[in-house]
């Protein structure tokens, strides 16, 4: 197993439980691992939540952590994947003074070329939204920064994996027991 530090996406299927986030984050905290991003949402299965956590660690640690996460009673299944094994994206929003939209022709080009989307416009500000890879979002932020950004926010990474995660089968097997 490679000892190199690399970016891993940890996907966790869980029951919806109030204390579980604490339990899971404690596993990273104990080993002094910084969570680069964390997203939780409903998964493809009704009533089952999915965590997507991005960390920079070596594979050996990823393997141990996934087992310790899976050991938590309310974790159904946990996986780790490299960047190559996932399709991932982030999304971001910019709040920008509306005057710029009309007075700075460059802005129009930036919006067009970055494939970002105007969510709302009013007389004071407009809101731009974009999803994509981190470098695309960073490039857009750099481009807009020179004109002045009122607010910027970026989400954590969301990712689906290229290979199958057979969680429904696991749950079915339990129901048939």
């Amino acid at each position: 197993m490679s000892e190199d530090i690399q970016s891993f996406t940890i996907s966790i299927y869980t029951e919806n439980n109030i204390g579980l986030l604490n339990r899971i984050s404690a596993i990273f905290q104990r080993r002094h691992i910084n969570i680069e991003s964390l997203t939780t949402s409903q998964s493809e299965i009704d009533g089952v939540n999915r965590f997507v956590i991005v960390v920079n660690i070596c594979e050996d640690t990823a393997c141990k952590i996934v087992k310790q996460i899976e050991k938590q009673v309310e974790t159904i299944k946990a996986y780790y994947h490299t960047e190559d094994e996932t399709i991932f994206t982030e999304s971001c929003m910019f709040k920008i003074n509306s005057d710029l939209l009309f007075n700075e022709p460059q802005i129009q080009n930036i919006i067009k070329e970055s494939y970002s989307r105007i969510v709302t416009v009013n007389k004071d500000f407009f809101v731009l939204e974009k999803s994509g890879r981190r470098n695309e979002i960073e490039a857009l932020r750099r481009d807009l920064n020179s004109f002045g950004i009122m607010q910027f926010v970026r989400s954590g990474r969301i990712a689906v994996t290229k290979d199958e995660m057979k969680v429904s089968e696991l749950l079915k097997a339990f129901d048939n027991q």
Partner: protein, 577 residues
Amino acid sequence: MKTQTINNKKEVAEKAERITGSEAVVKSLIAEGVDILYGYPGGAIMPVYDALYRYQDKIHHVLTRHEQGAAHAAQGYARISGKVGVAMATSGPGATNLITGIADAQIDSTPLVCITGQVFSHLLGSDAFQETDIVGISTPVTKWNCQVTKAEDIPAAIAKAFYIAKSGRPGPVLVDITKDAQVAELDFKYEKCRGVRSYVPVPKTSQEAVNAAAELINNAKKPMIVWGQGVILGQAEEELKNVIEKAGIPAAWTILGASAFPTSHPLNIGMVGMHGNYAPNKLTNECDVLIAIGMRFDDRVTGNLDSYAKQAKIIHFDIDPAEINKNVKVDVAVLGDSKESLAMLSDALNKNSHDAWLKEFKDLYAIEFDQVINNDINPTKEGLTMGEVLKQINIESNGNAAIVSDVGQHQMIACRYADFNVTKSNITSGGLGTMGFALPAAIGAKMAAPDREVVAIIGDGGYQMNIQELGTIFQQKAAVKIVVLNNEFLGMVRQWQQLFFDKRYASTEMTNPNFVAIAEGYYIKARKVTKRDELEEAVKEMMASKESYFLEVMVEKEDNVFPMIPSGASVSDVRLS
């Protein structure tokens, strides 16, 4: 069809009774077979205590003198009986005082259900009197926990708690119940929990893995077993014995594995670890196949991992997949319940013996005996040794006593020298190293197994950490035998100060009170021994006593425990002096 559905519903309705949440707590405990629980009342748990008062013919609540004592007593109860220990406390400080015991149970895989009272749910998060976020606080040290704010959720929460505590790799769970949930009413009907869909308590044992393990063992010239508490928790003592005897494998144990296989057996080669025996530590780095069973390669067992059994093929039997490759990379992992996996292994093993290899252990034992053991148990110097006290207890108990030890030098001596003929007889705080564990744990052990002789071996430091539990012993008439090995030092820390800090004895010397007078203050029969010629008679008197008995033995102040693997050293660098 329709009629039947209605009938079923009716049956349920008839079975359910309208009771309060607090009564539901007590009835749920009774339904789980709880006969004794340990705890301490207070504002937020008072309704449950009121219900306990009404059910005292069915369930015995033991009032400890501190909630930490309750948690450790519940642990002692669980460790000797294999059943789930139960501790109860109020909110706030009551709940936080349980934490050390819970953490101890977590790291030593002890099944525990802790029930705490909590402030009214409408006050949650408002910094109310005696409010503390015990679910948040206990999260890292529990196998599972939850907060119940509705009376109707109580039975299912307790059922789940017992199921999780006991199944798979056992551990402590905590159920926090708000006061309004305790006083509200519900339709009570108890159903035991039979499964949680996100939780696989026992992974399936793979026949291929067993075969791979058996092949390595069958071809081994120098196989060695190290077993841990997983054998006791899996009730696999017989299966372990079959494996050891069939393949003729020298077998060593971790501190928590002690007593699963008799110390007197010729294939029992002693304890591994920092203060374990010379032979099994040294030969860990000589064996060709190391078979680890229900143990977790703790750092106190392995010493420096970079030079731990590098020459050996390693086979690891464990119920917990997270233990596999956690500290030591293994060649074959056999998951599952030890009772089942060891039975499968035994079937796949060839009958064998390894006499020359076993002799290597015996030869090293002879060296250890000459340089360490003989001086410990048959001392010729003036001062008393801890080892000779243990030897005397062995003689009087015939190796049948349950030994409950605290933490420190006396613990290592107890584990090294106590004879264990009966399983579940070594009750000690292994992973957490909790001073103050033994006195309350011995109470729980004695109450769970009143027919067994329970001897607590405690140092003068740890004794004073939960000395208040003498009150519980007195009130409950728990016939615990208490042996304090008094060297007027925090002995293990002093030993390290001597060896690694140039004898700078920072805060380890203790000026102790009159322990005999304190015991007698609790109406416990007490005696102090300062000379060798009094020891035998005193131990006889203690062991013959039908009631609790306190024996203080003044031992040599600056004795050290050897062998020793210095922190960070390799197992093969185990020192005899």
